[in-house]
């Protein structure tokens, strides 16, 4: 079972931007309730989409540089990166079925 990988300001380039497969990054923080709703869904998707898309989590409090670089102003935000660039932006909690549609459209 594949799990979301924690990424930081220092390894964001290597793990997300240089990735051969698309990467979904879950921008979150400990104080954010709705982020807790998103986390288990992203975890399930990590298993279902193993090998097709990498699931990553970035704590905005500990990694402000990356969060501000992508102008994150609301959490949870999910950004899908393909070949180093964000191609899809999902703000707020969305049910799993809707996330799958968004992911499938990008893959």
């Amino acid at each position: 079972m594949s799990k979301p990988v924690a990424v930081s300001d220092s390894d964001f380039d290597q793990i997300v931007l240089q990735s051969k497969t698309p990467v979904l990054v879950d921008f979150w923080a400990a104080w954010c309730g709705p982020c807790r709703m998103v986390a288990p869904v992203v975890e399930e998707l990590a298993g279902e989409y193993a090998g097709k898309i990498t699931m990553a989590k970035l704590n905005v409090d500990e990694n402000p540089k990356t969060a501000s670089q992508y102008s994150i102003m609301s959490i949870p935000t999910l950004l899908i990166f393909k070949k180093g660039a964000p191609v899809s932006n999902i703000v707020g909690f969305r049910p799993k079925a809707e996330l799958k549609k968004t992911i499938d459209a990008v893959l």
């Binding site: 954010c32 309730g33 869904v41 102003m73 609301s74 707020g92 079925a97």
Partner: protein
Amino acid sequence: MSAKREYEVVIIGGGPAGLTAGIYAARARLKSLLVEKGAAGGWIINAGVVENYPGFPDGVNGLELADAMQRQAVKFGLEMLTAEVNGIGLKGEQKILKTSEGDITARAVIVAGGSDRVKLGVPGEEEFTGRGVAYCAVCDGYFYRDVPVAVVGGGNAAMNEALELTKFASRVYVIHRRGELRATKILQERAFADKKIEFLWETVVEAIEGQDKVKRLRLKNVKTGKKSSLDISGVFVAVGFRPNTGYLKNMVALEDNGTIITNEKMETNVPGILAAGDIRSSSIRQVAAAVGDGAVAAVYAERYLAGK
């Protein structure tokens, strides 16, 4: 997911009402399932500190309270499923729930799906969501350090948002279409006493403008008709709630505002379908009330199952 799933009680929604119903149903040794689309906790997980729930004189963090309620319910045997409910059908006395994870059969259903924030419905709101338009100050206040922000609304939610934002923002404008607040008095007192908060009365937002990010609001005074603009970096919308009853329209009797009509036993017009919490007509949208509703609903669900 194709296995036949049958329960005595299915609870829709994992907020305080649903979790309390779950505690009571599980302790009544009913085979019980709670269906929640995200994480348990309901609206309080957005709320920061809950100050008015009895037993916590120093307040309790909404996330922690939600976690504790969930652990308590699961401890007694409540099953949890992450799924979205899209409809309820009847087959004799059985209730068939159509969910994103397949059909579930229940003998009794407790609808406790709460409500979601209403949007303002003005130009720019959709476009700038996540880039200056926000709906949760506890989540997003952090991103607005030392910049001016606005809160739209005049109820408890709006005052809580405004007070939370004073921790971060340089100035907090509260924009309210009436000349007075509906918020509870203690919140009004705190907001009026806060030097960072400024009130713009009898004023509505006509548009949210910016470039990449929100830069200003177009405002209109509803009394004088005078238009103005206000430079801000963020706008937090707290103008009300809409019950999550879209899928129940042709199933149970609803008020015009979409809330579910119940009697004092939390029963709807359909035998074996009950409702609890913020989704219910005349709800006061408080954790203490939701918890009471949940207990009442579970007890009368049990009596319904026992043939009254």
